[in-house]
Amino acid sequence: MLKYILKLGWKNVWRNPTRSGVVIITVLLGTWAGIFATGFFNGMLNDYIKGQINLTVGHVQIMYPEFEDLYNPNYAIPNAENLIRTLQVNPDVDEVSGKSVATGLAQSARNSFGVTIWGMDIENDTSVSVRSIKGYLEEGDFPEAENRNQILIGDDLAERLGLELRSRMVLSFQDVSGDLTAGAFRVAGIFDSFDSRFDENFVVVNKADLNRILGGKNLTHNIRIDTDDLMTAGVLAEQLQDSNPDLEVKSWREIAPDLRYVFDMQDLSLYLVMIIIIIGLIFSIINTMLMAVMERTRELGMLRAIGMNKSRTFSMVMLETVFLTLVGSPVGLLLGWLTITYFGASGIDLSAFSEGLEGWGFTTMIYPSLALKYYLNIVLFVAVAALISALYPAWRALQLRPVEAIRKFN
């Protein structure tokens, strides 16, 4: 690039500081908004995936192959205790939790509703499956082992059935011999998770209570495994399937296809957010730079008249935009990074909108986060956007006919 054209492009940046300021701030805000929106959305998706995984899905689940079809309580995992012990020493496994499961009807004096009943070792199980439910406890306490038939229900089910703490309710389901059985439970606690579907459809009781009513000893229908990495869960599931050919081992990707979809689309969604912001950026830069060119009709006409060729004229206008971007983008990048870092630690509280979000299974605290590659890509996008938006004004500068521009002088 010719030095004097560079110099002129740079000086042109400062001829109208207000307008250049507008472009710089537009670029700055565009970069910042790109980073923040992407980080926010990323945090939201991460939380969504993490919340769902922690609360219900886990990374890997092991069941008896036929269990899932009809939830027949006979299809418990044989020798579940042994399996759990071997899993606990597996280096790829972080946490293991075994529960018995039944599907049935929850009834109150007022109403009834179909639910999935989880029998968990609430007192002794310290794994994330129990921890996460405990984390959402809103009222009351956890069922205790010495008090028989206590139950933990979600706030939405409580509302539907008209239940309060210490209310009595009945769970009815099929037992191991295929007969319909029922148990009366007392509400020990009410939880309120981010996902109202879960709060309505799942209840938690002590495993011993559920198994007693089911009529089996030490029944475990489902073993849930958590690892330290969602990505490698599939590999672990395959290994465990190989070593336990009689059981069915599934990773979260198979268990929750909707989560898999969100997870796989996350990248694409983030780029979509970026692109939408970049398009807005392009239009505002085009607008301002076009003004800058139109305002300089006479000067550009004079330059063309005295012999400035098209490529120089074009470069001059392009360079001006590039300089403006070079100032705005790094500042926006820094601000974006600071915002993400700050809110990534403190979180953004969306509880004002929590009802709407809970319906979709989203948490109300969002912790924005963004991997380095997105920062780099946003900067790249902004740079490309700036070049694209400089093209049209620069092209318009070339369309100018010197004679006509000069006629306007006099």
Partner: protein, 240 residues
Amino acid sequence: MPTQNGNNMSVIRTEGLTKVYNPDQVPVHALNGVDLTIEKGEFTAIVGPSGSGKTTLLNIIGGLDEPTGGKAFIRGTDISTLSDRELINFRLNHIGFVFQSFNLIPVLTALENVSFIMQMQGRPAKECREKSIELLEEVGLKDKINKRPSELSGGQQQRVAVARALASKPDFVLADEPTANLDSVSTAELLDMMAELNEVEDMTFIFSTHDQRVIDRARRVITLVDGKIDSDEERTVDSG
């Protein structure tokens, strides 16, 4: 480029130049057959009533506009045969322009404005700078070389424009009403300076004007009426 022993050629020669604006709607016959020859070293004024075609003629000679008919030769080169791209380069290297106003790039100093055209010609930075300073001294702006146009008076700006026009070492300088926006003192100063450069550097000047004091300084006065040469007189002037 079809140029034939250029140095012996007249600087400018036109043959039956015509120009019709808006030929399809309401045709305006701005030039109606202009035959004109200008030799090296002339100091020539194009005069005539408003709308007589002065600007049109200068624009065609300057390679900024195309004639509807006829030919214009610059040192033997028929400029109508040049492509757009060649024409831009031709203007850069062969023609110096001084316009009525908006001659300078506002963000550049006087020195940078003069250097700029030489930089476009691809001359070395040192030469550009030295030659520019020399020219700005010649036009009497020695102490203003680092001023921007906004810090200069109208007359000073026009003098920078003249320095710029000479900096590219053109075959001739075209000036369409260079003094139209100047007061009489600045007009006289600019004319003195142009006359001196004409003498000292043997630079050819062609300018249009309405100003009788400017006309009085010209050594040849071509009068246009309705797009035709009405009179063409040589005269002697006392330079000073």
